[in-house]
Every structure is written in structure tokens, then in C-alpha cells.
């Protein structure tokens, strides 16, 4: 055979030229090649990114709504102030209520850092819409004697009308808390309600008072009027005081002995803003649960991306073969499919972050809250999606890289 003879004659040629060295793709080309697979398969890309998007949107919305509501609470606390202290009868004396001295607010006022002090006292009167209503049906509304400076000290606001003042405080006039007004069916001042055993004119209606919610279901009459018309004994049940912000704890310590020197243990001193602060802390546990659900959705989305990539590798064997023929090495094929998976999941993450942000914005706006999402959470959500994409792309990319060029090209 001539061929064999020919090769018997010629010695194997020595390498006549230096081998070309492998080239690296530029970052821009890596990205372009990675994204090229998503072209022309847009619907599929969108669908497989959707799972990721939903997971991320859920997580971002949970974090965003939580943050916004906390921002709202924090705003509210800041606005209401954390320097209100309230003194009330001790809880273990539910029946036999402690009688505080009539001048309790005056005594508190004399404590150095105190800015204002006021008090309310329970009367035995009931309030009804008319005298025809049974006196036993109180609607849970208590009638309180109140000082004229009550509203300013507890930080309450009038919804309409006006509050008690030295003049009206002597006459049968009443200011209704928000709930009390609702229950009595009173929506504007000017009318009359049956209080004790005579008509009282409604002077004003309050908005809910966040730091003294007990006032919401109360009907407040002037201190002197309560004594004159309702047989009020003049002993306060609650004392409220605003102190210098820096001295809240110090004042808190001396408050009980000040108002009730005989048995300071029988009164309960509280800081109403603490209840709101506790709400701030309580939101966290709720968040953790929903965040977990979002994370599960994200993982399920990752499975979707992996599935899409496995199919992509099967479908695109010829493309892989062509790229190998054009000089791509295994690592470059692997990088291409990994990039594609990360891009797919990353787009999902971006869309999800936008969606979650939008949902948060809508919810916060509807609730009248400030809109707040921590930027770190957004970045973390997108990074987590990209990571999920990388993990999801690992196996399909390895499969693509394992194909030999001929195997890849051979598939019809």
C-alpha cells in the first residue's frame, strides 16, 4: 500500500511551529456569550426566572413591610415621646381601689425634672345616649373626672370640638374618647348625652390616644363638675406626667412614694411607650416565619432554573459542538452555562426585588406608613438569587463541558 510506504519513507515531522496558547475570553464576552442562550428563548427564560422572582418578591415584601411598619411605629413613638409616665392603681387591688391624694398631680409637679402632671379620677356615674336607655347598659364607657391639662400631657388630639377648660370644667359638659363617641353614636360635638341623671353637652370628641388607650372608652367631665353633679370624691385614679427625657427613670423611681407615701407598693407606675416598643420587638418573630417561606420559594425557583438549564444543554448540543470546533475549551463551555444560569436567576432576583419593593410601597402607602426597605436586604436577595442560580447551573454546566466535540456535533 502506497500510503504505508510513504510514511515508512518520511520520518515524523518535527513540530514546525510553536503551539498557540489558550486565550481567555474578556469579561464582556463571557457575559455576552452567557446571555446569548437566553435570546430567542425569552418566554422560557421569563417562566423559569418567575419562581425565583416570586420567592425574592415574597422575602423583600416581608422585610419591606416589616421595616415600614417598624419605621411607622418608631416614628409614632418618637412623635408621642417616651417621657410619659402613668400612675395607676395596683393590679392586685382590682376590687378595693387605692385612693390617691386629691393633690397627687400637684405633688408630682413638684418633682424637679417633671414638665407637666395631670390626673383623672373615676366616678360612679354612667353615660347613655338618652335617659330612656337602661342605666345598666353602660357600653363599657367609664365616666372620668379630668383636669383641663390632661390632653396636652398625654399627647392626645381632638377630632372635633374642644377640650375642657377652667370655664367649661365647672358646668355639665363632657368630652368623649374615640370609642366612647362611637358607642354612643355621637359624631359631632354640640349634642347632649344623659350622664349620671342629667343632660351633659358634648364639648368635643378625641382621636384615639395611643399612650393612654384607657381614655378612648371614657367620657371626661371637668374636675369641679364631677364633684358638683356626680358626687365625685376628688380622689384621682390615674396620674400622668411628662418628665425631662433624661430623667424618666429617676422620676419613675420616686413616683410611687410621692403619690402614695403610705403604701407605695399599691400603685403601679408604667411607661406607656414601652408597650409600643414591645410591639416593635414582637414583629421580628412574624418576619422570620414569612422569610422562611420566601426562602423555600426561592429554592423551588432554583430547581426550576436547574431544570431549564438541563433542557438547554440537551437542546443545544450542536451549539456546544460548534463552539468547541471554534476553539472553546471545556472550561469556557462550563462558564457559559454557569453564567447563563446565574443570569437567569439574577434577573429573577432583580425582578423579584422590584416586585417586592412595589408591593411594599403599595402596602405602606395604603396604610399611611413611611416606605422603608433596607438596601442590604435588597442586595442580599439579589445575591442569594445569583447564588441559587450558580448552584442550579453547576450540574448542567458540567454536563455541557463533558461532551466531546464530536458527540455534541453528531446529534441531529
Amino acid at each position: 500500500m502506497t500510503a504505508t510506504e510513504q510514511f515508512a519513507r518520511t520520518a515524523p515531522a518535527a513540530p514546525s511551529e510553536k503551539l498557540p496558547s489558550p486565550a481567555r475570553l474578556r469579561p464582556r464576552d463571557i457575559l455576552a456569550v452567557g446571555l446569548s442562550g437566553l435570546r430567542g428563548r425569552k418566554l422560557r427564560a421569563v417562566l423559569s426566572a418567575l419562581g425565583i422572582a416570586i420567592g425574592v418578591a415574597a422575602m423583600v415584601a416581608v422585610v419591606g413591610i416589616g421595616t415600614s411598619s417598624q419605621a411607622q411605629l418608631a416614628d409614632q413613638i418618637a412623635k408621642l415621646g417616651t417621657n410619659l409616665l402613668s400612675v395607676g392603681p395596683g393590679s392586685n387591688f382590682a376590687g378595693a381601689e387605692v385612693k390617691l391624694p386629691e393633690d397627687a398631680d400637684g405633688m408630682v409637679q413638684r418633682i424637679g425634672p417633671v414638665e407637666s402632671a395631670t390626673q383623672t379620677g373615676k366616678t360612679s356615674a354612667t353615660v347613655r345616649r338618652t335617659d330612656k336607655v337602661d342605666s345598666r347598659i353602660t357600653g363599657g364607657i367609664q365616666v372620668l373626672a379630668a383636669r383641663d391639662n390632661l390632653l396636652g400631657t398625654v399627647g392626645g388630639k381632638l377630632r372635633s370640638g374642644r377640650f375642657l377648660d377652667p370655664a367649661t370644667g365647672r358646668y355639665p359638659g363632657v368630652v368623649l374618647g374615640a370609642k366612647a363617641a362611637d358607642r354612643l353614636g355621637v359624631d359631632a360635638p354640640g349634642g347632649q348625652v344623659w350622664l349620671g341623671d342629667q343632660w351633659f353637652t358634648v364639648l368635643g370628641i378625641l382621636d384615639p390616644v395611643p399612650l393612654a388607650p384607657e381614655l378612648d372608652s371614657s367620657a371626661m367631665v371637668g374636675w369641679e363638675a364631677a364633684k358638683t353633679y356626680l358626687g365625685f370624691d376628688g380622689h384621682p385614679g390615674n396620674v400622668y406626667t411628662r418628665t425631662k427625657e433624661s430623667a424618666v427613670e429617676a422620676v419613675r423611681d420616686v413616683l410611687a412614694p410621692t403619690v402614695n407615701p403610705k403604701s407605695p407598693n399599691e400603685v403601679k407606675v408604667s411607661r406607656p411607650s414601652d408597650a409600643l416598643a414591645a410591639q416593635l420587638a414582637a414583629k421580628d418573630t412574624f418576619n422570620a416565619l414569612l422569610l422562611g417561606l420566601g426562602a423555600v420559594a426561592l429554592l423551588v425557583g432554583g430547581v426550576g432554573v436547574a431544570n431549564t438549564m438541563v433542557i438547554a444543554v440537551l437542546e443545544r448540543r450542536q451549539e456546544i459542538g460548534l463552539r468547541r470546533a471554534l476553539g472553546a475549551h471545556r472550561g469556557q463551555i462550563r462558564t457559559q452555562f454557569l453564567t447563563e444560569a446565574v443570569a437567569l436567576a439574577g434577573f429573577g432576583g432583580l425582578a423579584g426585588a422590584a416586585l417586592g419593593g412595589l408591593a411594599t410601597y403599595g402596602y405602606a402607602t395604603a396604610k399611611g406608613w413611611p416606605f422603608a426597605i433596607p438596601a442590604g436586604a435588597l442586595a442580599a436577595a439579589i445575591a442569594a438569587s445569583a447564588l441559587v442560580g450558580a448552584v442550579a447551573g453547576l450540574y448542567p454546566a458540567a454536563r455541557a463541558a463533558r461532551l466531546t466535540p464530536t458527540e455534541a456535533l453528531a446529534t441531529g
Binding site: T2, A3, T4, Q6, F7, R9, T10, P12, A13, A14, P15, S16, E17, L19, P20, S21, P22, A23, R24, L25, R26, R28, D29, A32, V33, S36, R39, G40, Q318, E319, G321, L322, R323, R324, A325, L326, G327, A328, H329, R330, G331, Q332, T404, P405, T406, L409
Partner: protein
């Protein structure tokens, strides 16, 4: 080959007796136990234009895959410019394909989403050069194959013959040392097939070494050298028959 044409062979790559690809006793046995190529020996020198012919299933594509380093032989050696393919890593071998070998396939393998220009520019993708540089050279290559007016056309906006010429432009854009074409006219009507063959001749005249598989006996007969394969064996090689010892296998 005339003297004028000879000067177009890039001289920095060594003389026309440089062996671009050399197979010695190359055998390929597939997983099923089928021996598609049986102790085949073949040497292609710079500047050659040769046809590989043979009946269907005789092992032509297998031979081309081994020559193009797309596959490795089960035994025997394949050398590209003297380098034994068996000793090269995947990265090295891929670089060899990127720089030295251009492929043309019967099915074109053009990306439907890319313009002719970008398809051709992809022939330089794995050279690590910049995008605009790739496109510039791609435009030149399309000019060379007569498609200077079709740069922005997508494959579906091109005729079959134009698609194959685009694929040829992609194969030659990197100025490879050899172009391997597996039935490049197989999917074309005779007129566009003839145009593609004319193009291959022209490229060869300008210095490109080309090996082309074909079923077309007339076409094969018109080429300077023919290698015939049957049952995985090289049964005829006109290049060797007509060649003076150590001389050129072209121009017979």
C-alpha cells in the same frame, strides 16, 4: 500552482512542504466496537486542496474529525504542524482548533439570532480579541466570500448558498492553517454548490489549505488531489501517486 499564486501562501508559516496535518496508522473504534477508521495514514501539506471521497458510512467524517482534533484516535497518531494531538491538554487542543483549523459543516450551524457579521465574528470569539476587532475582520472575511452586501442579514434572510458562504467566512476569518469541510455542498442545489466550490478554489488559490469531503464525483475529479476511503481504509490517494518523492502533492 502558478508562481504568482504561490507567493500568496503566507511565507512566515514555512514552506509549501510543511505538513499541516499528518495521520499515521490512525484507527478509530467506536464504543459499540465498530471500527470506523482502520489504520489510516494521510498527510496534508500546506497549500493543498484535496477531496475526500467514499461511500456513505465509509469513515470520511470520522477521518475529518480526527484531522480536526474534534476526536482522538483509538490508536495511531494525529499530528497538527508536527504536534502529536495525544500529548495535548483540552485547553491546548482547543487553542489549536481556534488558531489553526477552520471547520465548514453540511448544516452550516449558523446562529439564527445573529447577523451574518456576528456569526462570522464568532469565528474569532475564542481568540480573546475585542468585539470591534472581531467584527472588522468578519466584515473583511464576508467581503472575501462575496457577501459584503449581506453583513446585517440574519441566516433566514440568506439563501442556502449564502449561508454556506457565511459559514466558510467564519471558518477562514481567523486565517487558519487548514479548512476542513464536511460535505459543504451536501445541502445545496447544484448551482449554489458550484459557487461554493468556486469559492473554495479561490480561497485555496489565495493560500488556504483545504480538505473537503464530497459525494460529488465530478467535483472530486476536478480537484488537485483525491483521497478515497472505503470501510475505514484509505484505498486511493492521487496526491501520493502523482507526487515526486518528498515533493508537492498538488498540481498533478
Amino acid at each position: 500552482m502558478t508562481g504568482a499564486e504561490k507567493t500568496l501562501v503566507p511565507t512566515q508559516f514555512g514552506g509549501p512542504d510543511t505538513e499541516v496535518i499528518t495521520l499515521s496508522e490512525a484507527t478509530k473504534t467506536y464504543a459499540g466496537g465498530l471500527t470506523a477508521l482502520d489504520h489510516a495514514s494521510l498527510s496534508i501539506r500546506q497549500g493543498e486542496l484535496l477531496a475526500i471521497v467514499g461511500p456513505s458510512g465509509s469513515g470520511k467524517s470520522t477521518l475529518l474529525n480526527l484531522m480536526g482534533t474534534l476526536d482522538r484516535p483509538s490508536s495511531g497518531t494525529v499530528r497538527v504542524l508536527g504536534h502529536d494531538v495525544a500529548t495535548l491538554s483540552d485547553r491546548r487542543l482547543s487553542a489549536v482548533r481556534a488558531r489553526w483549523i477552520g471547520f465548514v459543516f453540511q448544516q452550516f450551524f449558523l446562529s439564527p439570532h445573529l447577523s451574518a457579521l456576528d456569526n462570522v465574528a464568532n469565528g474569532l470569539l475564542y481568540h480573546g480579541i475585542g468585539h470591534s476587532n472581531r467584527r472588522e475582520r468578519a466584515a473583511e472575511a464576508l467581503e472575501r466570500v462575496g457577501l459584503g452586501q449581506r453583513l446585517d442579514h440574519r441566516p433566514h434572510e440568506l439563501s442556502g448558498g449564502e449561508r454556506q458562504r457565511t459559514a466558510i467566512a467564519r471558518a477562514v476569518v481567523s486565517r487558519p492553517r487548514i479548512v476542513l469541510a464536511d460535505e459543504p455542498t451536501g445541502a445545496l442545489d447544484s448551482a449554489s454548490g458550484a459557487a461554493v466550490v468556486d469559492l473554495l478554489r479561490e480561497l485555496n488559490a489565495q493560500g488556504t489549505t483545504i480538505a473537503v469531503i464530497t459525494h460529488d464525483g465530478e467535483l472530486a475529479a476536478s480537484l488537485p488531489r483525491r483521497v478515497r476511503i472505503r470501510d475505514g481504509r484509505v484505498t486511493e490517494d492521487t496526491g501520493l501517486a502523482g507526487a515526486a518523492p518528498g515533493g508537492l502533492g498538488v498540481g498533478a
